[in-house]
């Protein structure tokens, strides 16, 4: 009478080639690298996306924000789109280069409004968005450069293709570190 363990043991494959350990190790290393990169990028990305979403719902251009362009005076009846593109730049970008980028944005015929949000104001906004979240507030204390300065841009057109085209183009600008977008509810 066969024992259940012996019976099941008969099904063990006898003709299996050994595992390709080198290939398994390579796949493991590749996946580990991808995970590491994703882990490193995740906190910064979350902050930027949350900030962009908050920005889209915030009327900018008050104290601290330098409005570099507002085309209310244009004859066009078109209103700025509900999608806000956030163009992040380095903390240490010189004033000349900031001005040049602001001018380039303001001169773009697709863009309706451009507002600059400096690092200090961005941090104020960060504290407002994450009020009550001790871990995020501690992170801000630990890293004052957590939220970079940015230009908040609204286009005349709100079609997703137009927004994507502009975002791709802005991402190629040498002084731009990241471009993201958020849409008003």
């Amino acid at each position: 009478m066969p024992d259940i363990t012996d019976l099941l043991d008969r099904t063990t494959p006898r003709d299996l080639p050994g595992p390709d350990v080198g290939h398994i190790a390579l796949r493991g290393r590749q996946r580990a690298r991808r995970r590491q990169a994703a882990r490193r990028a995740a906190p910064a990305l979350v902050v930027l996306v949350v900030m962009a979403a908050a920005a889209a719902m915030t009327p900018w251009g008050d104290d601290g924000a330098v409005s570099t362009g507002d085309r209310d005076e244009l004859p066009s009846p078109r209103l700025p789109s509900k999608t806000e593109i956030v163009v992040f730049v380095d903390h240490d970008l010189t004033q000349d280069r900031l001005d040049a980028l602001a001018q380039a944005l303001a001169d773009d015929p697709r863009i309706a409004t451009v507002d600059y949000v400096g690092a200090e104001q961005a941090m104020t906004e960060y504290r407002r968005v994450f009020a009550g979240n001790e871990a995020m507030l501690r992170e801000a204390e630990r890293n004052p450069d957590l939220v970079p300065p940015s230009f908040r841009v609204r286009m005349f057109q709100d079609r997703s293709d137009d927004v994507e085209d502009l975002m791709e183009q802005l991402a190629l600008e040498p002084d731009v570190t990241r471009v993201t977008s958020a849409r008003e509810p």
């Binding site: 494959p13 595992p19 080198g22 493991g28």
Partner: protein, 179 residues
Amino acid sequence: MGENEVDPALAELCREEHPRLVGLLALYVGSRPVAEDLAQETLIRLQLHWPRVQAMASPHSWLCGVGMNLARSWWRRRFAEQRANGRFSAGRATHVTTEPADVLAIRSAVATLPPRQRAALVLRYYGGLSVAETADHLGCATGTVKSLTHKAIAGLRTTLDIDVASRGDDPAALEAPRA
């Protein structure tokens, strides 16, 4: 150790565990080609978690658990695919096998068991895990494991129409199924 070198202990464990992992998963999913894919994925997970697994009392138990989790995910995907495909075609994929008839008969009999009975049976009597380890992987009490394996063996007896010696009839003997 260089970038492209593999820890010899990891390589040894992969070689040692691979055939039994394929066997265990083939019994659970009923398909050897699928089992081979799942076993490879399990070993990739082993490579990812090697420093932690290396320190464990039983890397074998960890591998069985990961393999079974991947197999369960595969089942879920398969059911979803079947539901979707069922709208268009009742056809089934087939593959040619050269395995002996008795192996196919045993695998087929195990495949007819309800999923939890099947999982308990293969972890316990093929994987050689203890009742406690099996209970841990299945997320149930040890008494449930004994009951599941008892029913599974009874089911195999009926399906295979042979009298299988079962230490499962004696709950005390279930503690040590594999030497």
